[in-house]
Every structure is written in structure tokens, then in C-alpha cells.
């Protein structure tokens, strides 16, 4: 009546069950092992300046038990012109290209732009996440990116722990990066005068005299400590502190500073020079609240560094559900920054050289506002298509006090405007 000595039938039964249910795994009927893909194309256009197209493809594989592997590939194409740092003048100005091959000219009263700016970048990153036990979770990642004159390697690790029935999470992360820059035409010697080709025989010798090593490096250590707290069923908050220490070549080899005379006219262009270390810190606070169906997301960041820059960023998004399948998400972001100690829009002829100087507008006293909207729609099978359109306006303030001569009549601090358009599809 009974099975002979209770023979073990479980394995055969498992196999039969899997056949019945149309699954091939013997111990699990989960559909783990499927890759989920995200793809996006970002189009960024600064008015009259840089255009960037950035396709991104990201794949995540769920190995079950919260083990996740993400691989992301980004391909950037940047074209256009970027302000080289020189002041506008009442005369046309000629500059030597960073490679030393050829020159570019800006018209009178125009902000000098280096139009040789074209680059493609490929970035590959991979991230693994897994829980260690009930409370601890860890993640590791490596990133590599390369472009014509720049390569970057980085590795990161993080650890988080849940407390208080998972309502509180403490996390710590460490990231190490190593970057190499090797510009065409080598790295300019800081504060050397730009050699201009006006037909002289020994231009090449003059240019070479401004050049140093073929490449330089920098290394970065980042630390982040975070606290995430579930406040109530619909609200979650995050507080984090970041510390970053960068050492090495931090100067922009393509940027120069104008030396102007009493009339404000340029007499010399010096390659800029930045300190060889930077220590950055920031505090970040974010709160997300779910209403019945809408979500509001607010964040604030306070940033400071030993270059004398402090900044505030306020970001607000509201995800407004339009029925079951789509949403509209208005977004507004405000950014305000004080200038770096060594930021000089120009240098005066006859003054002694400071230790460091840069006229890069990104280090100046500035504020920026972004307004935009994102529209997302859920397609069949959890696929989502979204469109993002944003407008960015950045204004720099004059902190130089009295301006010499013609500089009063030109726009030393032109606004930067940009349009960002992004199309994302995840499947």
C-alpha cells in the first residue's frame, strides 16, 4: 500500500512540476536572470556654444535575493565652442589653438570662444549589489571612461545597514579615481604667454617653449556617509555628508587669462593655473513625499571647498499623475555659487602675478536656474518612455570692482543658456 520504503520522489516531482508550469529552473520558478534595459538619449545645447548628444544604455540583471548587476554604457558626442577665458576687446583677437596647429579669431566685442571643442567619450561602468545578511547590504563598482585626450578609472565600494525594522538606513561609501589627461599639443606651462603665430619664423619654437609634459594625472578620494529615514508611510528623508580630496593636475589646459593694460586692451594671454589640490565637502538633504498618487521631491545641497567656493542648490520636482499610465513632472532648480579665491576675470598689466589664476566662468560668482518638465508614459509590460525638456540660464556677477577702459563697454559676463532634451526608454 505504501511506496516501497518511502522512496525519494521529490526530484522527479520537481521536474514534473517545472514541466507543468513551463519553467526550466529546478529549484525556483522565478524569472530571475532577465536583463532589464534602460536607454536614453540626452541632447544638450548651449546657445551658440556646446552641443552634446549622449546616448546611454544601461542593463540591470536581477540574480534574485536582491543581488543586482548593472552595466552601463554612455556614448557622448560634444561639439561646439567654449569660452576660453579671455576678455572681449574692441578689436578682433587671434588665439593659437591648444594643439599649436592653427589659430582662431574672435570678432570685436565678442566673447572669445575656442571653437575646436569636439570630443567623443565612451564610458563603461559596472555595479554589483548584494545583501550580506538581513541588515547589511554592500555594493562594488568599477568605471572606465575614455575620450580623445582623457581617461578615467575609478572603483567604489559601499556598505549600508538597516535599523529600526528597516525604517532607518545608515550607509558609507568610498570611491577612488585616477584620471589622466594628455592633450594634443601637450600640457601648457602654467602662466606662460600664449605664442601667437603672426608669420614669425620661430613660432614653433615659441609655442614649444610654452609646453610641458605630454600628460598629467590627478587622483580623487571620495567618502560619503548617509542616513535614510522613513518618516511615515508616505515620507522618506535622506541626509548625507560628502568629503572629496583631489590631488594632481586640476588646471584646465585649454583656458587662458587675459592680461590687460590701463585701457582694458589685452597685452598678453597667460595659460591659467589652479592649485594642485582641492578639498570639497557637502551636505545634502532630500525629502520625498507620496500623496495619494502624486509625489513631491525636494532637495537642498550646501557645498564648500578650500578654493573658497561655497554653493547652495535647491531642487524641487512634482510628479503629477495623469491617470493610470502617465505623469507630468515639472522641475525647478536654483543654484548659487561664490567665486574661487583665485578667480580673476582678467589680470592687470604691471601687477605682480598671483599664486593661481583662472578666468573660467564656472569658477566665478554665478547663479543658475533650470526649469523643465518631464513627461512619462507606461507602455505595456512595465516599459516606460519619457521625454524631458529643460531650459537652463546661468548668470555670472561682476566681482572685479572698477573696470579699466574698454572693458566697461563689453559684456565680460555673458549669460549662458542651454536647452536639454532627453528621450528615455526602459525595457
Amino acid at each position: 500500500m505504501q511506496l516501497k520504503k518511502h522512496k525519494k520522489i521529490k526530484h522527479a516531482l520537481t521536474a514534473a512540476t517545472c514541466t507543468l508550469l513551463g519553467v526550466d529552473a529546478t529549484d525556483s520558478i522565478a524569472e530571475e536572470g532577465d536583463w532589464a534595459f534602460d536607454s536614453a538619449v540626452l541632447y544638450y545645447s548651449e546657445v551658440d556654444r556646446v552641443d552634446a548628444v549622449e546616448p546611454v544604455i544601461s542593463a540591470t540583471r536581477d540574480f534574485g535575493d536582491e543581488k543586482l548587476l548593472n552595466i552601463k554604457l554612455v556614448f557622448d558626442v560634444l561639439t561646439g565652442a567654449s569660452a576660453n577665458g579671455a576678455t572681449p576687446s574692441d578689436q578682433p583677437q587671434t588665439f593659437t589653438r591648444p594643439s599649436g596647429k592653427g589659430a582662431y579669431t574672435s570678432s570685436a566685442e565678442e566673447t572669445p570662444l575656442d571653437d575646436t571643442f569636439k570630443d567623443t567619450r565612451i564610458a563603461l561602468s559596472s555595479q554589483w549589489e548584494q545583501p550580506i545578511n538581513r541588515d547589511y547590504k554592500t555594493g562594488f563598482g568599477v568605471n572606465f571612461s575614455t575620450e580623445y585626450d582623457y581617461t578615467s578609472f575609478s572603483a567604489n565600494g559601499n556598505l549600508s545597514r538597516d535599523f529600526n525594522k528597516s525604517n532607518t538606513t545608515l550607509s558609507a561609501g568610498l570611491s577612488l579615481a585616477y584620471d589622466t589627461i594628455s592633450p594634443e599639443g601637450d600640457i601648457p606651462i602654467a602662466f606662460s604667454s600664449m605664442a601667437i603665430d603672426s608669420g614669425q619664423d620661430d613660432f614653433r619654437t615659441e609655442f614649444n617653449a610654452t609646453r610641458g609634459d605630454g600628460e598629467d594625472t590627478k587622483d580623487t578620494v571620495d567618502l560619503v556617509f548617509g542616513l535614510t529615514q522613513v518618516v511615515d508611510k508616505n515620507t522618506v528623508m535622506q541626509l548625507s555628508y560628502s568629503f572629496s580630496d583631489v590631488n594632481g593636475y586640476l588646471t584646465d589646459p585649454f583656458k587662458i587669462v587675459s592680461v590687460v593694460d590701463n585701457n582694458g586692451r589685452p597685452v598678453d594671454y597667460l595659460y591659467e593655473k589652479r592649485p594642485d589640490s582641492r578639498n570639497k565637502q557637502s551636505l545634502f538633504w532630500q525629502a520625498k513625499h507620496h500623496f495619494k498618487s502624486d509625489v513631491v521631491d525636494f532637495s537642498y545641497r550646501y557645498f564648500w571647498d578650500d578654493w573658497g567656493i561655497t554653493s547652495h542648490t535647491v531642487d524641487l520636482r512634482y510628479r503629477w499623475k495623469l491617470g493610470r499610465k502617465s505623469y507630468l513632472e515639472p522641475h525647478i532648480r536654483y543654484y548659487d555659487q561664490s567665486e574661487a579665491d583665485f578667480y580673476h576675470r582678467f589680470l592687470n598689466e604691471g601687477d605682480s602675478l598671483p599664486d593661481h589664476a583662472s578666468a573660467d566662468y564656472r569658477l566665478g560668482d554665478l547663479n543658475g536656474i533650470t526649469v523643465g518638465v518631464k513627461y512619462g508614459v507606461a507602455l505595456a509590460n512595465e516599459q516606460e518612455l519619457s521625454l524631458r525638456l529643460e531650459y537652463y540660464l546661468q548668470s555670472n556677477d561682476n566681482t572685479e570692482g572698477a573696470l579699466p577702459g574698454i572693458l566697461n563697454d563689453v559684456d565680460l559676463y555673458p549669460d549662458v543658456e542651454a536647452i536639454i532634451f532627453q528621450l528615455s526608454y526602459n525595457f
Binding site: M1, K4, H6, L13, L20, L21, I29, E66, N381
Partner: protein
């Protein structure tokens, strides 16, 4: 109300602490779907998918309906009936279970209910009546040649011993195509859960009859995996001080002696766990020994 749905097919969705709980009635049982997903719309869609699947399986395999394939087979009067892929898969599975259990699990044994009434009364059937019905029992008497099933006149098949567990697994599979969030399905005590909950905490499921399980307070904690229960302690006949449980031996037509009253088995699928639980009951006094030999986690009520 979705168009075309029957009036008694109602679903209910409510928010619980950190998850959504959907409920409905199917297969004469209360059915629950626990979903750890953020979005109410997604939860509603998942509930819809699971309930539609449960009702689909119920209507397709119920032996109480006259408009389905089971009715068609049971009234085929010896003529071959062509079945679809899903029915064929279930027939293959039933055949494998019949072989693995050496004839103890038999989907043709349902006709024995014509003579056995486990209503708590004391009346035993006459031996000749049992023997007469038993002549219509036995998987080996039918001809299963995919996709044709030929059932001798007077025989019947019944997927009742598989249907609920199969519905649980099928529903879960469908939900996993829609979400990576943690989901638990409970159709009348047959359970399957997949996906780690946030923070790794287990699901807590209220158990209707805590006496059936060695778990405290009538609350079952489930992380991932399946649980199925077989047996019903209330269904028996008491005759001359002797207790006849409702588990019938398809070879003799009489109740299995010394069968456990209730068995719960944990496994990776509800179908497999349910089969092991049913087979354990069919082993009579050897049920517990049988389960120990299968390397599964189980709970029994002797």
C-alpha cells in the same frame, strides 16, 4: 467592473503597512494577494491579473460546471476527446504523479464520492457498492495519447487535487512578469511567495485554523517559497467507535487507515508541495516517515 466579468467576481484592494492586500473569492476559498509595490495602479493591475487567472482555472477545470473541458471528457462515453496544451500538460503531470506514487494518486478516483459521504455521520457504504464504483477507478484503464484522451464510459477525471495549487503557481508566474516587487499569493491556505521584501522581513499571514499548523498565534511567517496543506480534520465517518478519514485509497476504494489529519509542506512551488502533502496523507501511518525521506520542511497534525 470589467466588462463580461460575472457579478460575483469582485475584487477588493486595500493598503496595509508597507504593502497592498488584494482579496477575492475563487475555488470556494478566500484568496489573497500580498504585494509590496509602491504604486496603487500597479497593485490593482496585479490583483486583476491574478484574480482573472484564478477564475479562469476554476471555470476551466471545475467538475461542477457543464460548459468546460472536464465536463466534456466526463461525458464523452468512451469517445476520444482532443484537449488543448494546458489540459495536456496537466494530464501528463497527473500521469507522472500516478506513476511516482505507484497508483496512490489517481485523478480518476473522484467517482468514489458517489458512495462515500464524509459528513460526520456513521453510515458506511456497502462493500458491493464500493466494489461496483471501484471498477470505474484507475488511471491505467484510460487511454492518454496526447492530445487525445479516451475515458471508458462511467469513469471521470477530477483536477480538484491539483487545481488550487496550480492556480497559485500560475498566478505568481504571471505577476512576476509584471513586477520585481515581493508578492505573496494565498488561495485558501495554499501559498507561494517570491521576491525579498524590503528590509528582508517576512510576510505575516493569518491562519484560519491554527490548530492545523505548529505555528504560534495562528500567524504564519513566510519569506519566499511555497506552502500547501492537504487534509481536513472535519471530514470523517464515525462508525462503531472507529474513525474513517476522508482520504480514499484508489486501489481498495476504502479510507486510508491511520492517515494524518492534516499535512503542510514547504517547497519551491505550490503544486509540488501540495502533491507531497497529498501523497503523505495517502501513505497512512507512514506519512510522516515518507515526508522525512523527501528532505522537505513539513508540519503535520496526527
Amino acid at each position: 467592473m470589467i466588462e463580461g466579468r460575472e457579478i460575483d467576481h469582485l475584487v477588493n484592494l486595500k493598503a496595509e503597512e508597507g504593502y497592498w492586500l488584494g482579496s477575492f473569492e475563487a475555488m470556494a476559498s478566500p484568496c489573497e494577494i500580498f504585494m509590496e509595490v509602491e504604486d496603487q495602479n500597479l497593485a490593482a493591475r496585479l490583483l486583476d491579473i491574478a484574480s482573472v487567472e484564478a477564475w479562469r482555472i476554476e471555470s476551466k477545470f471545475s467538475r461542477y460546471r457543464s460548459d468546460n473541458i472536464v465536463h466534456q471528457i466526463n461525458n464523452s462515453k468512451g469517445r476520444p476527446v482532443k484537449v488543448d496544451d494546458e489540459v495536456a500538460h496537466l494530464l501528463d503531470f497527473a500521469q507522472q504523479c500516478w506513476m511516482l506514487s505507484e497508483g496512490m494518486f489517481d485523478i480518476t478516483s473522484g467517482v468514489l464520492r458517489r458512495v462515500w459521504h464524509f459528513d460526520g455521520g456513521s453510515r458506511l457504504p456497502e462493500k458491493q457498492d464500493v466494489d461496483q464504483v471501484l471498477s470505474h477507478v484507475g488511471w491505467h484503464k484510460l487511454t492518454w495519447s496526447r492530445p487525445y484522451l479516451t475515458l471508458p464510459d462511467g469513469m471521470e477525471i477530477d483536477f480538484g487535487g491539483l487545481g488550487k495549487e496550480y492556480a497559485v503557481d500560475r498566478s505568481l508566474l504571471l505577476l512576476q512578469k509584471e513586477t520585481h516587487g515581493a508578492v505573496l499569493i494565498n488561495y485558501g491556505g495554499d501559498i507561494n511567495a517570491k521576491g525579498q521584501r524590503k528590509g528582508g522581513k517576512p510576510w505575516s499571514i493569518g491562519i484560519e485554523n491554527p490548530g492545523q499548523l505548529n505555528t504560534p498565534m495562528g500567524v504564519l511567517k513566510v519569506n519566499q517559497g511555497a506552502l500547501a496543506t492537504s487534509g481536513d480534520a472535519r471530514r470523517f465517518i464515525l462508525n462503531n467507535g472507529r474513525r474513517y478519514g476522508h482520504i480514499l485509497n484508489p486501489k481498495t476504494g476504502w479510507p486510508v487507515e491511520g492517515a494524518l489529519r492534516s499535512v503542510t509542506v514547504a517547497g519551491s512551488t505550490c503544486t509540488e508541495a501540495g502533491l507531497l502533502a497529498t501523497l503523505a496523507l495517502l501513505q497512512g501511518e507512514e506519512g510522516e516517515a515518507f515526508l522525512k525521506n523527501q528532505d522537505v520542511t513539513f508540519w503535520v497534525t496526527p
